[in-house]
Symmetry: C2
């Protein structure tokens, strides 16, 4: 990549970022993945972590993440039924990215508190 022109590199990166964004985009996917980094969990457990998610969204996003091979779903045929979700190796490979995201989130908040003015509060 060292010999490529800036514009070519930029295009390459734009594509890579889109691939990544397609997977983790949305309000709930990152939170769900974070919740699952603390061990395998059941539907209700995740709901407890992310209190403002509706069952519909949780169900829907779990399904999508499963299609992307980020998480896996294990059904125990007990009574009542029990389902356990966990991160796949691909899901685990997000860990460094998540770390940076969290670091930056904290950094951003510090900056905003320091300056206090302007910026979007967005709820």
């Amino acid at each position: 990549m060292t010999k490529m022109k800036n514009n070519t590199v930029c295009q390459y990166k734009l594509i890579a970022s889109r691939d990544a964004l397609a997977v983790i985009q949305g309000k709930w996917r990152i939170p769900i993945i974070i919740s699952l980094t603390y061990g395998n969990k059941r539907f209700g457990d995740i709901q407890k972590d992310i209190q403002d998610i509706s069952p519909k969204m949780l169900s829907q996003e779990l399904k999508t993440l499963e299609e992307y091979k980020i998480i896996s779903r294990k059904l125990y045929d007990s009574m009542p039924v029990m389902v356990e979700y966990s991160l796949t190796p691909l899901g685990l490979s997000l860990h460094k990215l998540l770390d940076e995201l969290l670091n930056w989130g904290v950094h951003f908040r510090d900056e905003m508190v320091g300056k206090k003015k302007g910026g979007k509060t967005k709820n």
Copy 2:
């Protein structure tokens, strides 16, 4: 943080991730920031990098990113008018996060090409 319980840490991380996501969420913000890492650019230059963005979305997202202090806007009062966008220090501080995002995007694509099956193509 070493002494905190898993659940507390999880909640803490969920909040940090939301702070970060509020800023970089959306289809266009990351691409715009990536485009600007290759030097200060004008409106039309960014449009050339991101070919499928509409002027409306570009304008709107630039405005939002400016409010978040991620980028800054400089108006040169020439004829015709010229505007230059650049990353602020806060915007530059996203660089490690972006790197990880790109790395993961490439990794993800490799995985998907290897397996080939399932997964969402999404378009």
